[in-house]
């Protein structure tokens, strides 16, 4: 029973992280209906940026965190500007294959710079963060993950509900040409959504790096794990991303705990295929009805 509760807590924390990284993905999909295959690489770049700033430049953790967020926002912005903006109006299939190419390019570049080794962050989270409920031990990293997850969920909720940029984004997601005719700067919305997505990805990359250590292959494969999460939650629902993330996280930790660790990595994809078969628009996705 103790083992079960421990797995439950771990699963929820990991799942929240998956949820957060999926949020960025959903954001890009909602704004520009681009399926971003380079999301995992954005995640890894964020983590490595943080690592480099902390260990080599020796800046304090909070400054490094802020710098990383700013840096990855800029990166997302630049990627949109350089690679995606020229393709506005081109067939979607080309844009998606472009993100596949970007993913491969970024991954090669990261492997070139940092190699395939496993790095760890210096331990900076205070031990008081840990929670001890009887036998269940929640390490500080998991608590941080949970806090950050909830914080970002609230922030996104407020952003989309009240800020003008958030409302622009929702309008573009709803109907691009209508938004354009009402004076929404659609290109800026695209750029902003890439920037925010990269920022969110970097943050989840940092926290995931705190849990498992940072490794190019590991982190970019987390980016692909976003797909089961968003298909489960519904491709265009931010809340769904969080719920889907938690479900996938739980599923993964329970299979890892009770069945086998090698099955753990592939089970989310089996779930993905099953979900596509029985509930193709996910739990919270918008069902598109089209009649010919």
């Amino acid at each position: 029973m103790d083992f079960f509760i421990q797995l439950l807590v771990n699963g929820i924390c990991i799942g929240l992280l998956y949820g957060i990284s999926a949020m960025g993905f959903v954001m890009i999909f909602k704004a520009s209906s681009v399926i971003n295959f380079a999301h995992g690489e954005l995640l890894a770049i964020g983590a490595f940026l943080f690592l480099t700033i902390v260990t080599w430049a020796g800046l304090p953790v909070y400054a490094a965190f802020l710098l990383t967020l700013v840096g990855s926002f800029a990166l997302g912005f630049i990627v949109e500007r350089l690679f995606l903006r020229p393709l506005i109006g081109e067939p979607l299939i080309e844009v998606i294959m472009l993100t596949v190419g970007l993913a491969s390019m970024f991954k090669g570049l990261m492997l070139f710079i940092w190699g395939g080794n496993l790095y760890t962050f210096p331990d900076f989270l205070p031990e008081e963060f840990a929670i001890q409920w009887g036998v269940v031990h929640v390490p500080p990293v998991y608590l941080t993950a949970m806090l950050i997850g909830i914080l970002f969920l609230i922030m996104f909720g407020l952003f989309f509900k009240y800020s003008s940029q958030g409302i622009f984004m929702r309008s573009v997601a709803d109907n691009q040409s209508a938004a354009l005719s009402l004076g929404v700067h659609v290109k800026r919305v695209f750029a902003l959504s890439w920037g925010i997505a990269a920022l969110v990805a970097a943050m989840s990359g940092i926290v995931l790096g705190l849990i498992n250590g940072i490794n190019v292959h590991e982190l970019s494969s987390v980016g692909l794990k976003v797909f089961p999460v968003v298909i489960l939650g519904g491709l265009d629902s931010i809340g769904g991303a969080v719920v889907g993330g938690i479900l996938i996280g739980l599923l993964e930790t329970f299979t890892g705990g009770y069945l086998s660790t090698s099955l753990k990595d592939v089970l989310p994809y089996i779930v993905l295929v099953v979900i596509l078969l029985v509930k193709p628009y996910g739990l919270f996705g918008l069902v598109e009805i089209e009649r010919v």
Binding site: I35, E94, M97, M105, G108, L109, I270, L272, V273
Partner: protein, 357 residues
């Protein structure tokens, strides 16, 4: 045969559908194709050494699979990120058929193609019901699930040990060495290209193109979209499986290692570089990527041996990954129709010279 030579007209003067459907628009095209085939089968295998023949064979196998992927991506407008894994399914099917059921070479490879087509249907079935590019996500899942099965379904695939195949033979003639395989692989490639070119001239091929261009209009004209997309995916997987079977026999022993996501990306790169929606383009892409691969291997070896940066452990994997990604990105941004389009432009510049406008 050349009683009335047909040249390229300076405009579009086609009067009926038969003219539109012609494979060769001029007799020169037909003649050059025959000359090319003769050179390929008579001169190349005897004029080149084993290393060059090895590269040719790899190009041939890659081209078969790339033609298949292009039918799906270029002609039907669906992306598959699992082509590498389907190649693996084909390779393992051929290996298992050859070792367990002692099937002869000429039967094992086509049956491997059929098995792979069936495996493709499993992943195509859920995703193709939806509109949009869900097949991409589903095939990504397929890639990981198949990779897992290849390693962990040990009863059949023998896990990480791999399988060693018996020597291939057709009607009592043993196929050993690069030169014998050259003939087998390129005869298969010729047959497969012939099939693909002609498939695109039938009602099925036109239906696929219609779905790519506008699926709503296609459905309105009475094309059952779901069935045709599934058909296209099955054909594409079948090509991959066929190529995989040849690969298994050519490599003699196979492991699950090469059939990873990077291989799938490599195939995507091939068809983008070669040209989406062009059968010839798939072959150009296969040539480009295979030669690039060998060039990179050679280049990294040279740099390693020169010992300029001894502290950097330069390995080929990241460089390959980076270069493939860069090639995909650059081609999509600057020449989305690929090398086939470059070739067309060069040709028409020559044809229209000196007034090429």
């Amino acid at each position: 045969m050349f009683k009335k030579l047909r040249f390229h007209p300076c405009g579009n003067f086609k009067e009926n559908y038969e003219e539109e459907l012609k494979v060769f628009s001029t007799d020169f095209g037909r003649a050059w194709s025959i000359v090319g085939l003769l050179v390929l089968f008579i001169v190349v295998p005897f004029a080149s050494g084993p290393y060059i023949l090895y590269i040719f064979n790899m190009i041939g196998i890659a081209a078969i699979a790339a033609v298949g992927l292009n039918i799906l991506v270029g002609f039907t407008g669906q992306i598959s990120l699992g082509h590498g894994a389907f190649l693996g399914v084909g390779a393992y099917s051929a290996a298992v058929l050859a070792t367990r059921f002692e099937m002869p070479f000429w039967a094992a490879v086509p049956v491997a193609g059929l098995i792979t087509a069936f495996a493709g249907l499993i992943f195509g079935l859920p995703s193709l019901r939806l509109k949009g590019l869900y097949l991409t996500i589903s095939t990504l899942a397929g890639q990981f699930i198949i990779e897992y099965l290849l390693v962990h379904w040990e009863d059949i695939t023998r896990g990480t040990m791999g399988i060693t195949l018996p020597a291939a033979s057709i009607f009592g003639v043993d196929i050993v060495g690069d030169r014998m395989f050259f003939f087998v692989i390129f005869l298969c490639l010729a047959a497969v290209v012939w099939a693909a070119v002609n498939l695109m001239r039938t009602k099925y091929g036109r239906a696929l193109v219609a779905i790519r261009d506008n699926d709503r209009a296609a459905e309105g004209m009475g094309i059952p979209i779901f069935r045709y997309k599934l058909l296209s995916f099955a054909i594409s997987s079948c090509y991959a499986g066929f190529a995989g079977g040849l690969w298994a026999y050519y490599m003699i022993s196979i492991t699950s290692e090469p059939f990873n996501l990077l291989l799938s990306v490599e195939y995507i790169a091939m068809i983008i570089i070669g040209g989406l929606g062009s059968i010839a383009g798939s072959i150009y892409g296969a040539v480009f990527i295979t030669v690039l691969n060998e060039g990179l291997r050679w280049g990294t070896d040279v740099i390693m041996n020169m010992n300029i940066f001894p502290e950097i452990g330069l390995t080929i994997a990241p460089v390959r990954e980076f270069v493939f990604g860069l090639a995909i990105v650059l081609f999509i941004l600057f020449e989305p129709k690929g090398l086939a389009e470059v070739w067309r432009i060069v040709r028409s510049n020559f044809r229209l010279w000196p007034f090429s406008y």
